[in-house]
């Protein structure tokens, strides 16, 4: 069925707009109580995230300082400038802002969405998981109280819910598992283990997570993104994901502070972009300079506010909680 032409009216009901305001008030009250500083960093940047799975919108600036025009990127998260603030001695900070990700649109995605991102100096990812839980309990009190909290490691989660060990499995084993046990036939996928682990995560595990708050931590080192690695056998990334009622809500790291390792990861990602025909983007050298100058030991997390509202209100899709979704924007 073709959707009818969207009209001028909002995508969200007025009650949900009210709920959004209440949730944001409570978020700000929470951080104010814990003396975490609210900050506001630019949405437009000369550099962008090199993560091949994050596509930045780009635009052009013409004006003083750029007579011939300069390419600017809309941020996919405020992570890099917030880390520059941390390196400059800001202490713990948070931000509520719009972020932009090209290509992401569906029942739980809108290419423009509201992110709550915060950094806690002196915290590791375990401390921050506890704070995410405290924040969600306070914000959702009387709206959609959290009934259960469950912690998994990535390894336990795959063993229990999919019956495979993600640290020893192979693409062939995952292909067979998806096809024979779950009737899922991926087409044209690269023979890259992380892609296949992501298929199992999104197609098999996420639908089984069920109600309540779920934390997953200790990701494979190859999925570290911007998290530091914890030595061990195998080494794991100090990264966590948060799910509420089966919906992926937040991603956090014990932040990588090593400028050299960060640059190596940027370069690896840039190479993967070239290999898979994803447009190249300039890496954020100012972030590397900030890390070289010294990022305080900290953990950070980014939480999708629209997803939170979607789960809290039991909305059918994320578009139902947006004042105006993409097709009526």
């Amino acid at each position: 069925m073709q959707p009818s032409e969207p009209d001028w009216r909002p995508s969200a009901s007025l009650e949900l707009l009210q709920l959004r305001a209440t949730v944001l008030d409570r978020v700000r009250a929470f951080f104010s109580k814990h003396a975490v500083l609210e900050v506001d960093t630019p949405a437009l940047s000369r550099a962008a995230s090199t993560d091949p799975a994050l596509l930045s919108f780009q635009t052009r600036y013409h004006g003083p300082g750029a007579a011939a025009g300069a390419t600017l990127y809309l941020h996919t998260s405020p992570e890099f400038p917030m880390k520059r603030l941390l390196a400059a001695g800001s202490g713990s900070i948070y931000q509520v802002c719009k972020v932009f990700r090209d290509g992401e649109c569906g029942g739980s995605h809108n290419p423009e969405f509201t992110l709550l991102e915060w950094y806690r100096t002196g915290f590791d990812h375990l401390d921050l998981m506890d704070e995410v839980e405290r924040l969600l309990v306070e914000v959702l009190a009387g709206i959609a109280p959290i009934e259960t909290v469950h912690h998994w490691t990535y390894r336990e989660l795959f063993r229990e819910l999919a019956g495979v060990d993600p640290f020893t499995t192979t693409v062939a084993e995952l292909r067979l598992l998806l096809a024979s046990t779950h009737g899922i036939m991926p087409v044209g996928m690269p023979d890259d283990l992380d892609t296949w682990l992501d298929l199992v995560m999104t197609h098999v595990i996420e639908p089984l997570l069920g109600a309540g708050l779920v934390f997953v931590c200790d990701y494979p080192a190859s999925q570290a993104a911007l998290a530091r690695l914890r030595p061990g056998n195998p080494p794991v990334a100090a990264r966590f994901e948060v799910y509420l009622n089966g919906v992926e809500l937040a991603n956090g790291f014990h932040e990588l502070a090593d400028a050299v390792e960060q640059q190596q990861r940027f370069e690896l990602e840039a190479a993967r972009r070239r290999d898979s025909d994803v447009p190249e983007v300039p890496m954020d050298r100012k972030l590397l300079d900030a890390l070289a100058a010294g990022l305080p030991d900290c953990a950070g997390v980014a939480l999708g506010v629209d997803r939170l509202l979607m789960v809290a209100s039991r909305a059918r899709c994320v578009q139902d909680v947006l004042a105006f979704s993409l097709d009526s924007a």
Partner: protein, 189 residues
């Protein structure tokens, strides 16, 4: 060859999967917290009618299936082929038993049907939602019983057998819902 990117996926879009023409039923965009985005789709194989699932990397392209639905009039069956005609152009199409499938039992000469063409040839035939068919055989009607309860089998002029109320007699014309195969009522025509 024409193709569609996953960004063009929507219900009803016709694509080729494993060499067979298929129609998308449902398209879901899924993405892990970090990592590759996927399009998870439910698809109907238009040759077999089976519903299958496939997952594509978002942004990939898939070959388009040259499939279209046309309204054609059923002319006759010669036993091997069922012949249809476009009443505007008089152009004819012959569908074989595979394309016609179970629909054969509802096909009455002159009725308009939806014929799905793949590369210009009939792939599937959908009968009208309601057809009027004459009873050719059934047990004698029971007078006065209009309750419709119980019922009995009746053979219709196309060979279809449906359950009808006890009062129905040979020679009557019945309205049948082809989607459920159920008796709807007696025709006043």
């Amino acid at each position: 060859m024409a193709s569609y990117s996953t960004n063009e996926f929507r219900g009803g879009l016709k694509i080729m999967i494993d060499g067979d023409p298929c129609a998308i039923i449902e398209n879901e965009f899924v993405k892990p917290g970090k990592g590759q985005a996927f399009n998870r789709v439910k698809i109907r194989n238009l040759k077999t009618g089976r519903v299958i699932e496939r997952t594509f990397k978002s942004g990939e392209s898939v070959e388009a299936a040259d499939v279209m639905d046309v309204e054609l009039q059923f002319l006759y069956s010669d036993g091997e082929f069922w012949h249809f005609m476009d009443p505007q152009t008089y152009e004819q199409q012959a569908a074989d038993a595979t394309a016609v499938g179970d629909t054969a039992k509802w096909l009455k000469e002159q009725d308009m049907c939806e014929v799905t063409l793949w590369n210009g040839a009939p792939l599937a035939v959908t009968p009208p939602n309601f057809v009027l068919l004459k009873v050719t055989d059934t047990d004698p009607g029971v007078r006065g019983d209009t309750s419709g309860g119980g019922g009995k089998p009746a053979t219709l002029e196309t060979g279809a057998v449906v359950r009808v109320p006890l009062f129905i007699d040979i020679g009557e014309t019945l309205k049948i819902d082809t989607r459920t195969g159920e008796y709807v009522g007696r025709s006043k025509e």
